[in-house]
Amino acid sequence: MFGRLVYESFRRQKRRKLLAGIAITLGVAVATAMIAVATDIGDKISRELRRYGANLIVTPQEDTLDVQIGGVDLKPPSDGAYLNEADLPKIKGMFWRNNIVGFAPMLPVSVGSEEADESKNISLLGTYFSKRLTFGKQDFVTGVRITHPWWKVQGSWPDDNSSDVLLGQTLAAKLSRKPGDDIEIAGQAHRISGILSTGGAEDSPIVAPLALAQQILGKPGAVRRVYVSALTKPEDAFARRDPQSLRGAEYDRWYCSPYAASIAFQLQEAIPHSHAEQIRQIAQNEGTVLSRIKGLMLLVTLAALFASAFAVSAAMATAIFERRAEVGLMKALGAGSVSVAALFFGEALLLALIGGIVGFAGGALLARRIGRSIFDSQITIDPVLFPVILAIAVIVTFAGSAMAIRRAVKFDPVYALRGEA
C-alpha cells in the first residue's frame, strides 16, 4: 500500500514533483560544482602562481659572493665554483619530483665582441630554453620557457642544440640588430634567432644555449646556478623548524611535505656539492596569496551550500503545503500522523536520491567546464564526494520538509477538505 501511494503520487502529480525535483537537482549540482572547485582551487592557483617564476635556487656550496649591481654581473668569470650539468636530471629523481614544474640552469660568461665597445665586454648567459632530458624512464622538457614565463621573444626561440642566440632588447637596440642577423661572439658568427624582452636584467645580455656558453668558457658541463620552479605548500610553523632538530616520525613528516624548505633540502641531496635555498620573494608570498584565495573560495562555497540548501527546503515546503487537502482526506479515512509523515518522508527520500544523482552528475560536468574555461585544465572530482553529497541532499531535503510536514499533519482535516486553509 505504501509503495503504491508513493508510486501514484509521483505518477499523478508530475508538475509538483518536477518543480521540487528540479530544485533539488540544481541545488545539488551547484553544491557539487562549488565543492569541487573549492577543493581544487589551491592546486590550480598554485600552478598559476608559478608564473612568478622559480621559487628555489641551487648554487655551488663553496661559491664566492655574487657581485651583481642592477642585474649586471661584475664577478670575474674565473671566480667561484660550478655545479655539474650531468647532475641536473637527478632533480627528477627526488621524492617530490612531480612537484617540480621545471628548472633552468644558468651560466653567465663574459665575451669580447668586435661590435661592442672595445673596452667593454658583453655578458652572455647560457641556459636551457626548452630542453628534452631523460632520467631513468622519464622524458621531460625543461628550461626558461617554463621557469621564466614572462620572457617574450620577438622572432623565434633558438634550439637548445643549435648555436643560435637571443639578443636582449637593450643590446639589440644598441647594436641595431634584427632577428635573422648574425652576431660575432668570441670570433665566431652566430645567428640571432630572436630579440628577448623580459622587463628585467636579462634585457642587456646575449642569451645562448648552455652548451655554447660552456664552450666559450672552456668548461664543459659547468653550471653557475639552477633556478627551480616547484609547487609548494604554504609555510607554517612546522615548516620553519630545522630538519636537524627533528626526530623520527616528525622528520619523515617534514621530509614528505612539499614545503619550499624541504624541497630545497632534497635538491641539496640530489645535486652533489650544492646549496639550495628558497627565493623568499616568490616562495613566501605565494603562501599568503594562496591561502587568501583558498579561504575566499571556501567561504563562498559555504554561501553556495547555504543558498542551495535554502532553495531545496523552500521547494519542498511549497510542494507539501500544496497538498493539505490530500492530507485531510488521508486523515479522514483514518490514517495516523505517523503514516502520513512516513509517506511524505518516503517521497522526499526518493526525490532527494534522484535529484542527488542527477545533480551530482550535472555538478561534475559544471566543475569540468569551469576548470576548462578558466584554468585550461580539468577539475577532477573525488568519487568520495558522491556519498557525501547524496547524504547532504537527503538531510537537507528532510530538514526542508520537516517543518512543512509537521504543519500539514497537525492541520484539522475538516478545514483542509473544505479548502479553507
Binding site: L19, A23, L26, G27, V30, A33, M34, V37, I41, I45, E48, L49, R51, Y52, I57, D63, T64, L65, D66, V67, Q68, I69, G70, P149, W150, T198, G199, G200, E277, Q278, I279, R280, Q281, A283, Q284, N285, V289, R292, I293, G295, L296, M297, L299, V300, A303, A304, F306, A307, S308, F310, A311, A314, T318, F321, E322, A325, I370, S373, I374, F375
Partner: protein, 382 residues
Amino acid sequence: MSTQRNSDLVNRRAAKPHTSMFLRMLMRAAVLRRGRAASALLAMAVAAAAATAMLNLYVDVQAKLRKEFRNYGANIVVVAKDGQPLPADALARVESALDGHGLAVPFAYVMARTSDGQSVVVSGTDLDQVRKLDSWWSVTAWPNASQDALVGARAAAVVSPQGKAFDLSFQGRTIHLNPAGTLRTGASEDSRIYLSLKDFESWTGLQPSTIEIAFSGSSEEIIALVQKLTPALPFAEVRPIRQIMEGEARVLGKTRATLAAAAVLIIATAALCVLSTLIGWVFDRRRDFAIMKALGASEGLIGGFFAAEAAALGAVGAIVGFGVGVGVAAWIGRVNFHAPVVPRFNVLPIVFVGSIAVALISAVLPIFLLRRVQPAMILRGE
C-alpha cells in the same frame, strides 16, 4: 442624514476611485496570510542577500587581493642611465606621480672592498621603507643606529664570520660598520651589505641610482604610470617589472573569473528558490483570484494586483537582503582578508531591479496559467 453620509462616501470614492481599495487589499493580503507572506519575503531577502554579498565580493576582491600582491614588492623600477646617480629631486618627482598609491624606495650601489681585498656590493637605502616594500626579507634585527649595517647571509660569512665589526673601503675611503642583523632572501641580496642612506652618502659621496616603486594598480595603470614618469625623468630608464606585473594580472584574473562563476551559480540558485516559493504562494491564492474574477474584476486588474504585490515583496526583500548581504560580505572580508569589504552602493540598483524582476516573473507566470480556468471550478475546490 444617511443619504448625506452616503453621498459623502460617493464623493470620496469618486476622488480616489480604486486606490484606497487596491492598497487595502494589498495590506490585508499581507497581514491575513502572515505565515505565507513571511516565508515568501524570507526567500526574497535570502536571495537578495546572496546576490548582494557575491556582487560586493566580486567588486571588492580585486582591491583586497591587490594589497596581498603588493607584498611581492616593486613592480616598477627607475634606473639612472649610464651608471650616473639620479638627481636629488628624482624621488620627490616619483612620489608626486604616485600620489600616495604606492611606495618608492631609493637604492644606491657601490662595489667596495673588504680589508682582505674581496669585492662586495654595498647598498645605501631607506631601511624603514625597505622593510615595508620587501616584506619577505628575513632579518634577524633591523639596524637603527648610525654605522649599523644589515649584512646578507652570504656576505656575512665573508666580512664578519663571528659577527664582529668590520671595515670596508671605497676609493680610498674607509667606513667602520657594526653588523646589526643578518638578511636572508635567497636572491642576490644575500651577497650584499645594506646601510642607511645617510651613512652611505657620507662615506661614498654618491647619490641613489635606482628607485624601486611598488604601485598598486592594474597592468594598464602601471603602464600608464611608466609613461607618465618617463618624460618626467629624462635622465633615467623607467620600466615595469614584468615578472611581478604579469604574474599578478594572471592570478587575479583567474580568481575573479572563478568568483564570477560562483556568483552566477549562487545567484541562479537563489533566484530559483524565490521562483519556486512565489509560484507556490500565488497558486495557493487561486481562491482569491477566483473570487475577484467572480465579482467582475478584469484580468488586467487582477494581474496588476498580483504584480503590485510581488513588486512590493521584491522591493522590501531587496532592501532587507541588501543590508544582510553587505554584512555577510563584510564578515567574509574580515575573516579572510582581515579587512571588511566596503559596501558598494552601486550594487543596490542591480539587486533591487533584479529582485523585482524575479518577483514579477514568478507572480505573473501562475496568473497566466490560471487565466483560462473558470472561477467556479477553483471555488468548488477542484
